[in-house]
Symmetry: C2
Subunit: 186 residues, 2 copies
């Protein structure tokens, strides 16, 4: 074993690349985020960590709603732009066409193939960031991206984020809940 202790840091192996949508002062705003995942199966929930100083945090707390929008690899330039520029300095409402779903106050980016509409369920004050946990109220998706009623990874072409770099999804390695059956045979 040649392990080394590298100290505590905000590390995760791979993450999704998303745009967090929130209305701020009644206007749609989108912030790039990777610190997000599923939080619960029943009811379906997701969570996203947002720096407390961010314009988006203001919008989420103002409305108690937000969205997670999944951009495709082809949208990486505008996606990264939304992480470089704050809505406090620049109006980002025109970067994507916004539409609204059931919640009325969570803006959804039309150009993104998948849009997750969330109602704020809980907020954990972690220090620099609030971890917002939201109940998924509806998912909107491009019809062309669906397979068996769910977003299909090959069609969505999501952006993988790791160590300040954007990647595509790579080669399929194995099927989950299946590959492990080979374990005993070795």
């Amino acid at each position: 074993m040649d392990k080394i202790a590298i100290g505590p840091m905000a590390y995760m192996s791979v993450m999704p690349t998303l745009l967090v949508g929130a209305n701020v002062d009644g206007k749609p705003n989108y912030m790039t985020a990777a610190w997000a995942t599923v939080a619960c199966m029943a009811p379906p929930m997701v969570c996203v960590a947002v720096n407390k100083a961010r314009y988006t945090a203001k919008g989420i707390e103002e409305n108690g709603t937000f969205s997670l929008n999944v951009p495709s690899v082809g949208q990486v330039i505008e996606t990264d732009h939304c992480g470089l520029v704050s809505g406090a300095q620049e109006d980002k409402s025109g970067i994507f066409r916004s539409f609204y779903g059931k919640l009325k106050t969570a803006p959804l980016a039309e150009e993104c193939p998948v849009n997750i509409e969330c109602r704020l369920f809980s907020s954990v004050d972690c220090g620099s960031h609030n971890l917002y946990v939201g109940e998924v109220i509806e998912i909107h998706a491009d019809r062309s991206c669906l397979k068996d009623g769910k977003p299909n990874t090959t069609s969505v072409q999501p952006i993988v984020y790791a160590q300040a770099t954007y990647y595509g999804v790579g080669q399929e390695v194995e099927k989950a809940f299946s590959a492990g059956k080979k374990f005993r045979k070795r």
Copy 2:
């Protein structure tokens, strides 16, 4: 716009594939998980959603500690196995060699190139799952996987999880905090 509302579901575009380590009744156990991300920058925190009925939930609450271990694509079989079999039915302590770090009660899987040692900070009862937020106390990594003191994605070869399928990390698309600078030029 050809959007369709597909209903609320526990969807996320891409996720990490991890092994959640916890001591249960004093013995190391590893559970496969993908519902995890970074929760905070300062102090560094991560979070992971665990079904309340899981053996691992018992261990996390017993000790107030857990680990997130990052397997490589080459470890996908044993990784998926840990998601098929419960520690309540089968002793999983021999699948990986365990070592302990600062917390003494969070088992770390030696074969995994990166091991994140966490102290439970907060637990959000979301319904079927508890979202465990843990402060990162130490990260242990294989010396051979480091670049500038941090785990290097190309060396770690993490497993991307999406829609019940394991993938490798794909081609680099762009650098984050950089690609967006091209936005204005278009």
